[in-house]
Structure formats: structure tokens, C-alpha cells
């Protein structure tokens, strides 16, 4: 059985913009998505994620810009002509139809024969692992099952693009973890070009081929989960994705190498991502992930002097707040086994294993 969407085409979003009166909800958004790619729009509440999806799906007209599938421009088409599958936060399954009728709705609209419809519905029930539940009404399913029906309904008619707007936010934490892996798996097997919207950075990191980090209607950064985590382009990215220590400093290129200068005496090598971090002497944030803060016995050379101020046990890891000479307060996250005997008040040597700089504005 071939589930994969062979007709998949790349999606081009070209300078799409939306305002509500004076308010700019989406500033010129451009993005090219490969066929079969899983792209996540990540950003805080109100940053314009849903507005972007609504423009893509045709439920909201954009002010300007173009949307194309391959070479075909689709942004002038009404929602029912775009061939886009939508999964809503509340699933919006038709309560008066059975699971099978829900899944078949898009096929019915496309005039599929009875036999073809039945076959396709069976395929999809199998894909989302709900075999035998086709005759149930949506209200007779659990939240996670409803969610999968919504996905099946959106995939059934081989859409060019599937859009999911925070489809996991109504599930409890445990189920959410399970379903996001399921969803990812289904998307891969169907080779379905997908845009997924979330404000949960873990969800974005776990599921995506690429992440579009959004803030206040604009794009902050586009990259793989690894790129977003390891090399944030902006202060917003450094703060929003994962935990980070942000220490104010300046860029120091006097020695030729790229270094961060913190306070009068501390100079540390640092990586940068964006080309707006290049001017010697400019204000930067020196960013250190807690897991890149290592602790050694105090005697060892080449380390900052530090003192353990607080310890927060989290199970596998322990958060340690350190007072570090030359850096200030720094949070470390280490495996519990490694720092089990480290008491509050202990003096330690602190080693920064990796660091990264982003521009500091204002």
C-alpha cells in the first residue's frame, strides 16, 4: 500500500503581509518549503502564527504577497479550491458524522466513487491506527483519537499542504508527548508537506525539519532545530529556545579572533551566527547554555572562581546557581550523579564549554 503523497510540490511563501487597521499582524513573511518537509512556526502568543496559517488556507485574505505551490499561484483561490488540509486546535470534527464520514468528507467533495472512498478511509484509519473505529461518532473517541481523526481527515485527499494550528494543546502532557511522535511518524510515512504551529519550543525541536521562529509578526530566524538551539541569531531566539544564561558584554576582535569581553578583565572566545554580530566593540549578549557550564575542583587552573549558591534537584539533572567571578550569576545544569555531593557554599572552578554571542539592542 502506497501512502506517500507523490504529487507533493514545494511551497513558496513570498512577502506575505497582513495588517488589522494600524496593527501589523504579519510583516512580509517569505519562506520556501520543500516537498515533504515538516516546518514549524514557533513563537509566543500573538506573534502572528495563526494569522499566517489562515492566509495560507484562504480563510483570511492577505494584504499583499504571493503563495505558490510549485509554479501555481494559489493565493487568489478561495479556501475550498486550495487543496490544503487543515487541522484545528479543537479538531472541529463534524459531530453529526461518523469518523469514516469525517475522513471521507474531502473525498466526497472531490467526487470520489464509493469504493475508492471506502478504500482510502480504510487506509487512513490504518495510518492513524484507528482501525475498526470508523463507525463511531467523534464524541465517542478520546481526545488523542479525535486528534488523529482530524489528521486523517486533513490527509485523506492528498493535499498539497497540511496546516496544523496547535493541534496538541488540548491533550494532557503525557499524551502530547506520545501524539507528537505519532504525528511526526504519520507525516513522514505520508511524505506530506506540513506546517505545524506551536508556542511550545520543545514540541518544535522534537518534530520539525525546520523551525521558523516568529516574534511580533516578523521572522527572527529560520533553521533546523539544532541551528536554532546551538546558534540563535537574535536575543529573542537566545531567550525563547531552551534555557540560556545571557551575560551583557561587548564584542572584542582586537586579537583577530572573535571574543566576548565581559567587565574589565574577562575575555572569552565566542561563536556567532548572524552577520549583524561583527562590529568590534558592539554590545552583545554572551550566551551560555546551562549544560555547557562545567564545574571542576577549585584548584584547577584556567577556570573562573565560583561558589555554589543554590541547588535545585530535578531528577536526572540538577540546576546549580553559581556566583562566578567576572561573569556574575550563572546557572548550570549537570547530571545528578556528577554533582551529588556538591554542597551549597562550596567553592568551585567554573569552565564555560561553549558560548555564543547575539547582538544586544538597547
Amino acid at each position: 500500500m502506497n501512502m506517500s503523497n507523490n504529487a507533493a510540490q514545494p511551497v513558496h511563501i513570498d512577502r506575505v503581509r497582513k495588517t488589522f487597521g494600524e496593527f501589523v499582524a504579519v510583516r512580509e513573511l517569505s519562506l520556501d518549503i520543500e516537498a515533504g518537509e515538516f516546518v514549524t512556526f514557533l513563537g509566543p502568543s500573538g506573534c502572528g502564527k495563526s494569522t499566517t496559517l489562515k492566509m495560507l488556507s484562504g480563510l483570511l485574505p492577505q494584504d499583499s504577497g504571493e503563495i505558490r505551490f510549485g509554479n501555481k499561484r494559489i493565493d487568489m483561490l478561495p479556501a475550498n479550491k486550495r487543496n490544503i488540509g487543515l487541522v484545528f486546535q479543537n479538531y472541529a470534527l463534524f459531530p453529526h458524522m461518523s469518523v469514516a464520514e469525517n475522513i471521507a468528507f474531502g473525498l466526497r467533495m472531490r467526487g470520489w466513487s464509493r469504493a475508492d472512498k471506502d478504500k482510502r478511509v480504510e487506509q487512513l484509519l490504518q495510518l492513524v491506527r484507528l482501525e475498526g473505529l470508523g463507525n463511531r461518532k467523534p464524541e465517542q473517541l478520546s481526545g488523542g483519537q479525535q486528534q488523529r481523526v482530524a489528521v486523517a481527515r486533513a490527509l485523506a485527499f492528498n493535499p498539497d499542504l497540511v496546516l496544523l494550528d496547535e493541534p496538541l494543546s488540548n491533550l494532557d502532557a503525557k499524551l502530547r508527548e506520545q501524539v507528537r511522535l505519532d504525528l511526526r511518524d504519520i507525516q513522514r510515512r505520508a511524505n506530506q508537506t506540513t506546517i505545524f504551529v506551536t508556542h511550545d519550543q520543545v514540541e518544535a525541536l522534537v518534530m520539525s525539519d525546520r523551525i521558523v521562529l516568529m516574534n511580533k509578526g516578523g521572522v527572527e530566524q529560520v533553521g533546523t532545530p539544532y541551528e536554532l538551539y546551538a546558534t540563535p541569531a537574535t536575543e529573542f531566539g537566545a531567550r525563547f529556545v531552551g534555557a540560556n544564561n545571557l551575560i551583557a558584554g561587548t564584542l572584542d576582535k582586537s586579537s583577530g579572533a572573535i571574543q566576548a569581553r565581559i567587565g574589565p578583565e574577562t575575555v572569552q572566545p565566542v561563536s556567532t551566527h548572524s552577520n549583524n554580530v561583527e562590529k568590534d566593540g558592539m554590545d552583545i549578549w554572551y550566551c551560555v547554555r546551562p549544560e555547557h557550564v562545567a564545574m571542576r575542583p577549585q584548584s584547577s587552573a584556567g577556570h573562573f572562581g565560583g561558589r555554589v549558591m543554590d541547588k535545585i534537584y530535578q531528577g536526572t539533572t540538577v540546576l546549580i546557581d553559581l556566583d562566578v567571578k567576572g561573569l556574575g550569576t550563572v546557572r548550570a545544569e549537570r547530571p545528578a550523579l556528577e554533582v551529588g555531593d556538591l554542597g551549597v557554599g562550596t567553592d568551585v572552578g567554573v569552565h564555560i564549554e561553549r558560548s555564543h554571542a547575539v547582538a544586544r539592542l538597547g
Binding site: 475550498n80 488540509g85 468528507f105 467533495m109 472531490r110
Partner: protein
């Protein structure tokens, strides 16, 4: 919870008893007129006595002109209800979903027939109907009822649609359904229970509308309410008038039961707007 439930202190007991009595009085007050009319219809007089022989004599003496007026009213009320809903549902959909400018004003305008005294509405319609030769005709009575039903129908369906999240319609469209198909396959089935209840209310209202029809009716178009009124004014409370009043009560109960049975009881109690019960 369960522990608290088991401990029936005197205070709680009297509280509950008081509540029960209160509800009982309220129910009696609400049902008293209906019960009185029904009892009277079996005794042929409003001076109801206990115990009294039950007889159908009053029903047997209902004159043909009453039956004529009765069926006239049923036909006009049914037709007006149907027409009003046929017009009101798409109109309400356009108003609620269309995001038309001035929609607030529109949805207030259509309430006018409901808030203006029916007497005034009746006079206004009469001035229009006379030149059109619609007064004293079935069509005239029916159209007057449509005006009234439309207002109620729009109010009902507007509320029903407001209560329906527009995601269902958006989902249907994204799946390829055009506006009309979306309306037919998604909107209509989802509001159908509410519409059935609206139809029930509108039909009842039409059945007993009096003031509005007072001027429009005439010898060749007499609704039952007008017939009863003029007879009672002329001859006092005659037994067959009471019997006819009883029949109107049966019609009301029959329609209520019909709607209740076809929807299931969960829709009837509580909010008219609840879709899932």
C-alpha cells in the same frame, strides 16, 4: 461530597422542603390555567366542581364554523412557520457569518415586529393589505403571521449560529466544500435541533396570535382565536368555546411531544442553544 450528602441536618431538610414547596407553587401557577380549561372542557362550564362527571358533550357541540376556523389557523400557522424559517435561516447565516457592515442595525431592525405592540403592527399591515386586497383573506392572515414569525425565527437562528463555532464551516471549506454545500452538509444539520425547537415556538405563537390578526381577519378569514374572542364577547363562555380551547391545548402538547420525541429529551430541557446536550 458523599459524606455531606448523608448528613441531612434539620436546616438542610427544611431548606429542601421549602424549595420543593416553592417549585410546586410555581408549577401550579404556570399550569393552573391550562388545567382549568381542560377540566372545564369536560364539564361544559367554567365552574369546575369535584368530583364531577366527565363528559364529551362540550366537544360534540363544537359548531362547524369553529372547525373551519381551527383548520384555517392550523394551515396558516404551519405555512407561515415554514416560510419564515426558510427565509430566516439563510438570512441569519448571511448576517452572522457575512460580517456585513451594519449587521447590528439589521439584527435589531428585524426585532421590531416583536417589540412593537401587535395591535399597531396589525393596523399598519391593514393599510397595506386593503389596497392589495389581502385583508380578510387566507393569504393576508398568513403573511401577517410570516412577518411575526420571521422576527422570532431570525432571532432564534441568529442565536443558534452565534453559538456554532465557525471552525466547522472553515473545516468544511478547507476540505473542498463551497458555501452552499457547507451550509447544506454542515451548518444545517448542526443547527437542526435548535431549528426544530424554534419551529415549535413559532408555530405555537402563530396558533394563538390574536391582536395582530384582529384587523386583518374577517368573515371569510377567521382564525380560531378571533372566533373564540368574538363568540365569548357575544354569548359569554359557552361550553363548546371551552372545548375548542381544550383542543388548542392538545395541539400544543402534540407538537411539543412530536419535537421532543424526534430530538430526544436532552434538547428540550435547558438551553435551546445547546447542540450536544
Amino acid at each position: 461530597m458523599s459524606a455531606a450528602r448523608l448528613r441531612l441536618t434539620p436546616a438542610i431538610f427544611f431548606g429542601r422542603a421549602a424549595l420543593a414547596v416553592y417549585l410546586l407553587i410555581m408549577l401550579l401557577w404556570l399550569t393552573f390555567p391550562v388545567v382549568l380549561v381542560l377540566l372545564a372542557s369536560f364539564q361544559g362550564t367554567l365552574e369546575v366542581s369535584f368530583p364531577a362527571p366527565v363528559s364529551f358533550d362540550a366537544y360534540k357541540t363544537i359548531p362547524p364554523s369553529y372547525w373551519e376556523a381551527f383548520w384555517f389557523t392550523i394551515r396558516a400557522a404551519l405555512l407561515a412557520t415554514g416560510i419564515a424559517l426558510l427565509v430566516a435561516i439563510p438570512a441569519a447565516w448571511a448576517m452572522v457569518r457575512g460580517k456585513l457592515a451594519g449587521r447590528r442595525i439589521m439584527s435589531n431592525l428585524v426585532l421590531i415586529p416583536d417589540v412593537v405592540p401587535q395591535l399597531i403592527l396589525g393596523i399598519a399591515l391593514l393599510t397595506v393589505f386593503i389596497p392589495l386586497r389581502l385583508s380578510n383573506s387566507f393569504a393576508g392572515v398568513m403573511l401577517a403571521l410570516v412577518a411575526l414569525s420571521l422576527s422570532t425565527g431570525l432571532r432564534f437562528t441568529e442565536a443558534l449560529l452565534e453559538g456554532l463555532p465557525d471552525e466547522y464551516e472553515q473545516a468544511a471549506q478547507s476540505l473542498g466544500a463551497n458555501k452552499f454545500t457547507t451550509f447544506r452538509l454542515v451548518v444545517l444539520p448542526l443547527i437542526a435541533p435548535g431549528v426544530a425547537i424554534a419551529a415549535l415556538f413559532i408555530f405555537m405563537q402563530n396558533l394563538i396570535t390574536f391582536e395582530l390578526l384582529f384587523f386583518i381577519s374577517g368573515p371569510s378569514a377567521t382564525p380560531i382565536a378571533i372566533r373564540l374572542f368574538s363568540d365569548i364577547i357575544d354569548r359569554g363562555i359557552v361550553p363548546y368555546a371551552v372545548a375548542m380551547a381544550g383542543i388548542l391545548v392538545y395541539v400544543a402538547i402534540a407538537f411539543y411531544t412530536l419535537v421532543a420525541v424526534s430530538l430526544g429529551p436532552k434538547y428540550m430541557a435547558g438551553s435551546v442553544m445547546s447542540r450536544k446536550g
